[in-house]
Structures are given as structure tokens and as C-alpha cells.
Amino acid sequence: MPPPSTSSPAVEADHLVKHFEDTVAVDDVTFSVPEGSVLGLLGPNGAGKTTTVRMMTTLSRPTSGTARVAGHDVLTEPDAVRRSMGLTGQSATVDELLTGRENLDLISALYGLDRSTARRVGDDLLERFSLAEASDRVVKTYSGGMRRRLDLAVSLVATPPVLFLDEPTTGLDPRSRVELWDVLRELVTDGTTLVLTTQYLEEADQLADNIVVIDHGRIIAEGTPLQLKDQSGAAAVVVTVSHADDLPRAQEVIRTVVPEFHVEEGARQISAPAGGLGHMTKIAAAFDGSGIELDDLGLKRPSLDDVFLRLTGHRAEEPSEPESEEALR
């Protein structure tokens, strides 16, 4: 396969539409992902994220529109698409009755890797995902985090230039989640393009270079995490004083820069509009030499959670156990 030229995007969704009987699961989704970058598809359960990924990975045929992966069209060159990408599904789709090693060997054999290459690739992946010791154990005995890592390892057998991850950390404990993020960052450093779906705003914020927000099958916003946060209102300068007694004096100091601000006594915090960062340095200078001891002085942008709430009118993360979009259909 010739390497895709650096100018063409690694992944393109081109007006993707998918209907299921009387429902519209995906409605005219278009985006492109530059090579070596991370795209986060963010949205609540049932938003159409999984269906979008299934269309981009040749598993599901679009009702209309198409997608290209590493320059190959999913409709006309599905085999070339499958050669260029790896997919880590929503539930860890590794075989429970096989050992970790046997899972990797099966996929290597299906890719047509010769035995010695398969052995080397398997050893590398098991080592890299800290599964070497468990490699001869049946997957049934693995923890949730280990299964996810194996699932990811299996997707990487052919070192695909593009990797699709459907809710890679759903159901993982916080520690395993952070570990998986580190692994994904390494992949990006090595030049892999990632498309990941998530309903965790923090995950999109941590990993994605660009975010596409989907709700009810439609794109409702897109941009870098920073752009999305900026869209959702101005940043604020937040000053936290060390001693509550200093609050009145601190207010006077700030009043010399900005007339309006907000005080939260309990948190010993004063928030003032950042005025496009201009106020930030002035406020810092004003406190310098004021003799008031500060715990913190910084810029606070609205979180992605705020962004999501403003865009959709509801929160992205629901406290209930995450269910797959499949199950909702």
C-alpha cells in the first residue's frame, strides 16, 4: 500500500447518513481527520457515534454518503480500508476461551502474517501492554483493564495507520483509564491517527486535537477543545486568597482593574472577566506588592461539560451504567 500523502486527511466522513427502518441514526455527518491527529466523537448514548464508526470501518453500509480511510473509499475499496485500519469495539471483543497469545495468533493468521513475524509482533504487543505474564492464561481470567489492553493489542497486530476506538475506556476504573490514555498518546506519538468515540468530556479534552460533538445523529459543534470552550463563554481570572480576612482588601485591589467581579466567600475566591487575557497580567501586577497572600491566581475556561450543557441542554455523562447504542435500538 502506498503511504497516503501528508496533505490528504487520514479519515474523511463524507455526508454519512444511516437510517434504521423509521429512525435516522446518523444524519449528514461530515468531518475530516488530519494524519497523526486525534479526533474525538463526543456525544451521549444513542447519539449515533457507534453507527458512524461502524460505517467508517466497513461494518455497516451507509444509507447515503461515504467515508474514506487512508484515501480508500469504504464503499468501493472495503478491503483496502480494512488493511489500513484497526478497530477496538465497544465491548472488549476478545475471545474469552482463548489465551491472550492465542487471540493475537488468530488475528495474525487472518492478516496472513508469517509465523515468525506473528511471534515477534505478538511478543512486542504483549510486552508493551503489560500482558506478557498473563499471555498463556485464558482471557476469562483477565480483569476488565487487561481485556481492554488485549483488545487494543489485537487491533494493532498489523500496525494500522488509522485506529478507531469505540468508547475505549467505558467501564474501566479511573486508574486503568489513565493508563489506557497513556498508551493511546504513545500511539499518536508514533504517527497513528486516532478516531475515538466517548461520552466522557474529560477523555475528549485529554486526548483529542479536534472534537466533533454529535447529538441525535447530527453534528452540533466542532473544533479544538479550546475553541469549543471559548464558544461557550468568556474565560475568567480567578484569584484565591490564602486567608478569608484578606477578601475585602483583595476586592479593592481588583476594583482598580475591573469594575465588576464575583466573590465566593466560602472558596475565598474572586472571579473577574479575563477581557481577552488583558486583565490577567494587570490583576497579577496589582497583587504584586499588595502584601496579600494568594493561594492561586489563574485563568479558568468553561469546561467541556459546560459546553455540552449549553449546546444540547443536557449533560453528556449520565450517572447510570453506560449502555451500548446497539442495546438501545
Partner: protein, 281 residues
């Protein structure tokens, strides 16, 4: 992420044939049997138990040409083998549903392999699975007096017919597996249909003695053709027919081949369509 992308070394992806891919999947399915030998109960303990139950519990009361129990035992063997191989559909359906359910089928479909490899691999392992049952039953049969009377060539043809029948049944299994939403549903449906269908034939008792309507059903039941063909090819002593047999039973070997082709011809397109619909979501 501003690090200069380091080009990763990619292992060479070689083109492989459908057969290679299917065998890799077959191997995986056989590892399942190795890890869970109880999966083989349906082709080991169960048919052997049937042989023993029918031969020694009912055998005395089911009259075959003068009621020699030894002849009934021999007569019974083809019937139980026919039933066991018909259950190949059951094995395929359960395995396929479980794989779809767990996302394994999606995982395999995302790889650059032939779309049919998943089904072919499943079919080969199911046929092997059922064949184990045929071997075990042949051995059980030998122990209780069953014999091959008409030479190896005809006996081999009998085994071939059983395998061909199993192949046709696999398509039924794929159709059921792709349609049903859970392994439990597959179990329920298959028990409710396969048991009566395999009993309403000349498998365990001669159709001769059944009420007219059932007898007609039994004689036209494709399994009856298979079982009678196998009996004839093995040279199993047959009771003299009292009625004129239904058309398929007058030429059981040819009927079995025709049935196999017809069932495959009808079921395969339906099964493939159901599988496509089920997975393309």
C-alpha cells in the same frame, strides 16, 4: 501532540485464501472444544445414551421383523446417526449466535478477510464436531451388534451422505443463528423443532405402525430418506414393507441427494441474507 511522527514499521500483510482464513477460524473454534470439553456432550454422552435407552429399554417392545432385539439395535443405529447429524444445525446456530452476541463476528469482519470466512470456519468446525459423534456412535454400535454388511465402498458412501446432510443442516443453523437474538432463544427453538422432526421419521420406530397422517409425514420427512439410505448402504436387515412406501423412500439414496441439494438451495440464500441483515447494523 507535536512530536514528529515516527513512521512505524508495518508487518507484511499477505493475501490469504478463503480456505486458510476459514481454517484459522476453525482452529479457534476447536480450541473452544478443548477448553470446554463439555461442549461435546451433545455428540457423545447424549447419542450413546439414546442408543442404549432405545436399544435396551424400548427395544424389546418395538417390533422389527419378528422382534429380534438384536436386529432392532442394528436398525436403530442409522436413525440415531441421522438425528445426531441433523443436530449439526443446532451446533452452528448456538456458536454463531454467541459470536455475534459477543462482537467476535464484528471483530473478524473488520479484518481484510473474505466475508464468508466466518461462516465457512464455523461450518467446518461444526461438521468436525458432529463427525466426532458419528465416530463415537459407530464404536458404540459395534459394541452392541451393529455391523457393516455390504462392503467398505457402500459404507463409505453412507458416511458421505451423512456428511452431505450435515452440510445442508448447517445452512439451517446459520439461518437460525443469524435470526435469533440469544443462545437461549436458539436452544428453545431448536429443542422445540428438531426433536419432534427427528422423531417423526423412521429413526427410532418404523413409520409403518404410525397413524396414517403421521406415517405420511414421516415417510416424506427428509430424514427418513437419509436414514433408510444409510441402512440400505450398510446392508442393515430391513423389515418387509407392509404398505407401498412413499416415493422418496423407494429410492432413498437419490432422494437424500435431492433433499440435500434442495435444502441447501433454499436455505443458503435465506441464511446469507439473514446473516447480512443481522450484521449490517
Amino acid at each position: 501532540m507535536t512530536t514528529t511522527p515516527a513512521r512505524l514499521e508495518r508487518p507484511e500483510i499477505r493475501r490469504t485464501t478463503l480456505l486458510t482464513q476459514s481454517l484459522a477460524i476453525t482452529r479457534r473454534n476447536l480450541i473452544h472444544i478443548k477448553r470446554m470439553p463439555e461442549m461435546l456432550l451433545d455428540v457423545t454422552i447424549q447419542p450413546v445414551m439414546f442408543v442404549l435407552l432405545f436399544a435396551f429399554v424400548f427395544g424389546g417392545s418395538i417390533a422389527i421383523s419378528g422382534g429380534d432385539p438384536r436386529e432392532y439395535r442394528e436398525w436403530l443405529m442409522a436413525g440415531i446417526m441421522g438425528q445426531t447429524i441433523a443436530f449439526a444445525s443446532f451446533i452452528v446456530a448456538v456458536g454463531l449466535t454467541a459470536d455475534i452476541d459477543k462482537g467476535i463476528v464484528d471483530r473478524l469482519r473488520s479484518l481484510p478477510i473474505h466475508p464468508a470466512a466466518v461462516l465457512v470456519g464455523r461450518s467446518i468446525s461444526s461438521l468436525l464436531h458432529s463427525s466426532i459423534g458419528i465416530v463415537i456412535m459407530s464404536l458404540t454400535g459395534l459394541a452392541i451388534g451393529w455391523r457393516i454388511h455390504d462392503g467398505i465402498a457402500r459404507a463409505a458412501l453412507a458416511y458421505l451422505l451423512l456428511l452431505a446432510w450435515g452440510f445442508a443442516m448447517i445452512w439451517v443453523g446459520i439461518l437460525v443463528g443469524a435470526t435469533m437474538r440469544s443462545v437461549e432463544a436458539v436452544n428453545g427453538l431448536m429443542f422445540a423443532t428438531m426433536f419432534p422432526v427427528t422423531f417423526l421419521a423412521n429413526t427410532f420406530a418404523p413409520a409403518e405402525n404410525m397413524p396414517t397422517l403421521l406415517r405420511i409425514f414421516a415417510e416424506w420427512n427428509p430424514i427418513s430418506s437419509l436414514v433408510l439410505a444409510v441402512r440400505e448402504l450398510w446392508g442393515t436387515p430391513l423389515p418387509p414393507a407392509e404398505h407401498e412406501l412413499a416415493l422418496p423412500l423407494q429410492h432413498p439414496v437419490i432422494s437424500t441427494i435431492v433433499w440435500t441439494v434442495v435444502i441447501t438451495g433454499v436455505m443458503a440464500p435465506l441464511a446469507l441474507r439473514a446473516f447480512k441483515r443481522r450484521t449490517d447494523v
